[in-house]
C-alpha cells in the first residue's frame, strides 16, 4: 500500500530563491506528525505543493500514491486548512460548508453534524465577519472534515486558540488518529506540539533536518525546544 503522504526530492525555486530543497519524507497511517521549522523554512510552500496549489520545480509530492489533483473525490481522502482566514466575511458559517458540501456530494445533514462537532451550531447562521479567530479556526476545520477524510493537514491550527480551544484541538487530533487516520500538522508552538504529536519532521532553510519519533529525538531528557533550536541554529552562532 502506498504511504499516506510522500515527498520525494521535493524542490521549489522562485527565481534565485530556493524555498524548498530536495525534501523527502513519508507519513504512515494512524500517526500524528508535527511539521516544524522556523518562519520561512518552507513549511507552507511544502504543504501547498503537496495539495496541488503550487507546482514543484522538481521532485514529487504524492498522497495515497497519487498527485493530489488525480485523487477521486479528494475531499474524502484529504482535508486541509492552510489559513484560517480563508472564509468569505459576508457568507454565513453554514453557507460556507454548504458550498463545499455540494462539491463533495455529502448530504446536508453532514453540514449540521460538522457544525455541532466544532461547537458552531449556535453561530452557524451568522456571517463570518462576526466570528472570532477561534471560531474561524473551527469553521475551517469543519470544512476540512466535511467529507470524512483519511488524512488531515493543518497549517498552524493553534494560532488564535485559547487554552480551552487548544486542549479541544489536541484531544480531537488524538481521537482522529486513534481511528487509524493520519494527521500532519505544522506549528511553531513547540510546547503544544510536544504534547500532541508522536513524530516530527523538522525543516530549516527548505531542507530536512530531522524526521524521527518524538521519543527518540528527545531521548536524552532534553526538551523538544532544545533539540529544535540546536537543529535549526545558524552555523555562525
Amino acid at each position: 500500500m502506498a504511504p499516506v503522504l510522500s515527498a520525494v526530492g521535493l524542490t521549489k525555486r522562485y527565481g534565485d530563491v530556493t524555498a524548498v530543497s530536495g525534501l523527502s519524507f513519508e507519513l504512515e497511517a494512524g500517526s500524528v506528525t508535527g511539521f516544524l521549522g522556523p518562519n520561512g523554512a518552507g513549511k507552507t510552500t511544502t504543504l501547498r505543493m503537496l495539495l496541488g496549489l503550487a507546482e514543484p520545480t522538481d521532485g514529487s509530492a504524492l498522497l495515497f500514491g497519487r498527485r493530489f489533483a488525480e485523487l477521486e473525490r479528494p475531499a474524502t481522502r484529504v482535508g486541509a486548512v492552510l489559513d484560517s482566514a480563508d472564509l468569505h466575511p459576508g457568507r454565513t458559517g453554514r453557507d460556507h460548508l454548504r458550498v463545499l458540501a455540494r462539491v463533495a456530494r455529502v448530504p446536508r445533514s453532514r453540514v449540521d453534524e460538522m457544525l455541532a462537532l466544532v461547537d458552531l451550531a449556535g453561530a452557524a447562521d451568522r456571517r463570518v465577519k462576526g466570528y472570532s479567530l477561534g471560531m474561524r479556526q473551527r469553521l475551517g476545520l469543519a470544512a476540512a472534515l466535511l467529507a470524512g477524510p483519511e488524512l488531515l493537514v493543518l497549517d498552524e491550527p493553534a494560532n488564535g486558540l485559547d487554552p480551552e480551544g487548544m486542549r479541544w484541538l489536541r484531544d480531537f487530533l488524538r481521537a482522529f488518529a486513534a481511528e487509524g487516520r493520519t494527521v500532519f500538522v505544522s506549528s511553531h508552538l513547540l510546547a503544544e506540539v510536544a504534547q500532541t504529536v508522536e513524530r516530527v519532521v523538522i525543516v530549516d532553510h527548505g531542507r530536512l533536518v530531522a524526521d524521527a519519533p518524538l521519543r527518540e529525538l528527545v531521548a536524552d531528557s532534553s526538551s523538544l525546544e532544545d533539540v529544535f533550536l540546536e537543529l535549526t541554529a545558524e552555523p555562525s552562532r
Partner: protein
C-alpha cells in the same frame, strides 16, 4: 462537474454582492429611462432610434454590472482566500473555471431580464403616456430583449475570464471601469471603424442599438463572442500555470 456548478450557483446566492450589483444595475437602468424617456422632447421621442435607446436602456446597466458580478465571482475567491478550500475540494482548476463560466449564464440572464423588464415596461408606458406612436414592431422589441440577454450573458462570462486573468479585485474592477469609460468610448469616438470592434461596442450592437458606425446585431454577436473566447482561452492558460 454538476456538483461544482451547483456550488458556484450557491456561492452567488449566499453573499450580498450579487444582490447589490443587481440593485446598481437597476439604478443605472432607471437613470437611463429618465434620460432617454422623460427628458426627451416629443419630436425626439417619436423617433425609432430614441425609442430603441429608451426601451433597451436595461442592457447598459445589466451588461456592466453583470460583468462586475462575473469578475467578483473569481476575484473574491482570491481576495478572501476561499480559492484554497475551493481547489482543495476540486483540484481540477479547469473544472472550477468552467463551472464559474456556466454559472455566469443564469447570472447574466437574471440581470438582463430584470433590467429589460423595467426598461421595456417603463419605456412602453412613457411612449404611450406622452402620446407618441410606437415606432418599433413586436419583432424589434423581441430582438431588443434577446440582444440584451445575449450581450449581458457574454458580459458576465467575460467578467469571469478577466477576473481569472487579473485576480486582484481592485485592479480588475479598475481595469474594467477604465476600459468601459475610457478606451471603449474614446476609441469609438475617435476611430469608429476600429472602435466598433471593441467588446463594449460589439455588445451595444448585439443589444440592438442603432447608433451610427455600430456593427449590426449579428456582427456584434460574432465579435463579442470572439472576444469572450479569446479571454477565456487566456484565463485557462493563466489558471493552469499559476500557483495559488
Amino acid at each position: 462537474m454538476s456538483g461544482q456548478l451547483r456550488s458556484e450557483l450557491l456561492k452567488l446566492r449566499t453573499t450580498r454582492t450579487t444582490a447589490l450589483l443587481l440593485l446598481a444595475a437597476v439604478a443605472i437602468t432607471l437613470l437611463g429611462i429618465g434620460v432617454e424617456g422623460l427628458s426627451a422632447t416629443l419630436a425626439e421621442l417619436a423617433k425609432e432610434e430614441r425609442q430603441r435607446l429608451l426601451l433597451g436602456a436595461g442592457s447598459s446597466g445589466a451588461g456592466l454590472f453583470a460583468t462586475f458580478a462575473g469578475l467578483v465571482a473569481v476575484t473574491s475567491e482570491f481576495r478572501y482566500g476561499t480559492i484554497r478550500p475551493t481547489l482543495l475540494f476540486e483540484p481540477r482548476r479547469r473544472v472550477v473555471l468552467a463551472a464559474k463560466l456556466i454559472a455566469a449564464v443564469p447570472l447574466g440572464g437574471v440581470f438582463a431580464l430584470v433590467c429589460m423588464a423595467l426598461s421595456l415596461g417603463a419605456g412602453l408606458a412613457i411612449v404611450s403616456a406622452r402620446g407618441v406612436g410606437l415606432a418599433l414592431s413586436d419583432g424589434d422589441l423581441l430582438a431588443l430583449a434577446f440582444g440584451a440577454v445575449a450581450s449581458t450573458v457574454l458580459g458576465a462570462m467575460l467578467g469571469v475570464a478577466v477576473g481569472a486573468l487579473i485576480r486582484n479585485q481592485v485592479g480588475a474592477v479598475l481595469a474594467v471601469v477604465a476600459y468601459s469609460f475610457l478606451v471603449d468610448a474614446v476609441l469609438f469616438a475617435a476611430v469608429p471603424s476600429v472602435g466598433r470592434f471593441l467588446p463594449g461596442k460589439a455588445g451595444d450592437a448585439l443589444a440592438g442599438r442603432h447608433v451610427a458606425h455600430l456593427l449590426t446585431p449579428g456582427q456584434g454577436a460574432a465579435v463579442l463572442g470572439a472576444w469572450t473566447i479569446a479571454f477565456v482561452a487566456a484565463a485557462v492558460v493563466r489558471t493552469d500555470r499559476s500557483d495559488i
